[in-house]
Amino acid sequence: MHEYSLVEALLRRVEDEARQRNATAVHGLKVSLGELAGVEPELFRTAYETFRTGTLCEKAALEIVRCPAIYVCPSCGKSFARGEVLRCERCARPARMDEKSDALLLESIDMEVP
């Protein structure tokens, strides 16, 4: 259940950013969660609903962009299906993970500034 500590870190970051810009309200947040980020999006949302009360994000909509796990061969570019052995037989090279696969990113904040 580390989703709660992640959401706490997220809210802290958003409040810092909002304060710096003298924002009066936050309308929306966008986060990217990779399939290999170790985060369950539904739990993340539940944690967000719980923790946003009383914060600047109280009325902010949370948009979650899910990023699939993508592995490709660094030589020939072959992509690997889920459950496949992560090694390119033809090139004899281990697959490379696309960096979005384990993304845990705060992409953007929509905030109201005076």
Binding site: M1, H2, S5, L6, A9, L10, R12, R13, E17, R21, T24, H27, V31, L36, A37, G38, V39, A69, Y71, G83, E84, V85, L86, R87, P94, A95, R96, M97, E99, D102, L104, L105, L106, E107, S108, I109, D110, M111, E112, V113, P114
Partner: protein, 273 residues
């Protein structure tokens, strides 16, 4: 104020950040890593299920690495049992009681360093909370992640917990002395690992019989040899590096007469990212 018509209403602005949610943890981890590297301490994050044998592997390590100064912090939700076991095995240890937290983070590790003589160590084990999910996503400042998987856990554990295994630099398959008594297929464990790890490194061992401990010791020695200041086992806490290139693929011990001209922020060749 609204800049379109100057009406005095507030304005909605999109702020693009694209930054890691765990940026705070990552900063603390980078700080820990800098400390460890400066002092030539090989820090390892030991992860695995509850009961996978993390503590037993460390106890057995103390038996086969007598000349090497080992130390550990051991995380547990409620007890300090593991730290006491390690202490008894001759590994100076300290418990980190995490309360309700299911994982260690870099700040917890940093705090644990304050009253622990970690600088005097060659290898510093950070025994994480027994959990195959949460600890995987928190960088602690370790040099490598070691995931402990026991043969009693079922061959498909890597497929069920891909995130943990994807982060592993080394998988220790433990309790191998039990294989004759179980319906477990070692080939299936290796196959499952190859489907979640592009370049799996696996060592099979038994802490009880000592099987495989030589290979584990050799791995630890190789990792020590790759440390930024390539220590030979004597203590020195000053920061220094080597001026010849950024590759750590060489295995030899090197002298300490070169100038320190760069930070060691590069990734090692064996690391997945």
């Amino acid at each position: 104020m609204c800049t379109t018509c100057g009406c005095g209403d507030s304005e909605l602005v999109p702020v693009e950040l694209h930054e890691k949610i765990l940026a705070g943890n990552d900063r603390a981890a980078a700080h820990n890593r800098e400390h460890f590297r400066e002092s030539g301490v090989l820090a390892l994050n030991i992860m695995g299920s509850p009961g996978s044998g993390k503590t037993a592997v460390l106890e057995a390590t103390a038996r086969v690495m007598k000349g090497v100064r080992l130390g550990a912090v051991s995380a547990d939700l409620a007890t300090d049992n593991d730290a006491r076991r390690l202490q008894k095995a001759g590994i100076p240890s300290k418990a980190i009681t995490t309360g309700q937290a299911c994982h260690l983070d870099a700040e917890l590790v940093h705090r644990s360093l304050h009253d622990f003589p970690w600088r005097d160590l060659d290898v510093f084990f950070i025994e994480n909370v027994g959990n195959l999910v949460c600890p995987a996503i928190y960088d602690l400042g370790q040099e490598a992640n070691v995931v402990v998987l026991s043969v009693t856990e079922g061959e498909d554990k890597p497929l069920k917990y891909p995130v943990m295994f994807q982060k592993a630099d080394l998988v220790l398959v433990t309790k191998c002395d039990l294989i004759p008594h179980l319906d477990v297929d070692m080939g299936e464990i290796e196959d499952a690992l190859s489907r979640v790890m592009p370049d799996p490194r696996i060592l099979k061992l038994s802490a009880r019989t000592g099987e495989g401990m030589d290979a584990w010791r050799a791995w630890l020695e190789t990792m020590r040899g790759r440390m930024p200041d390539g220590r030979t086992g004597t203590a020195h806490t000053h920061a220094h590096g080597h001026a010849y290139g950024h590759s750590h693929e060489h295995e030899h011990e090197h002298e300490h007469e070169h100038e320190h001209e760069h930070e060691h922020e590069h990734e090692h060749e064996h690391e997945p990212e």
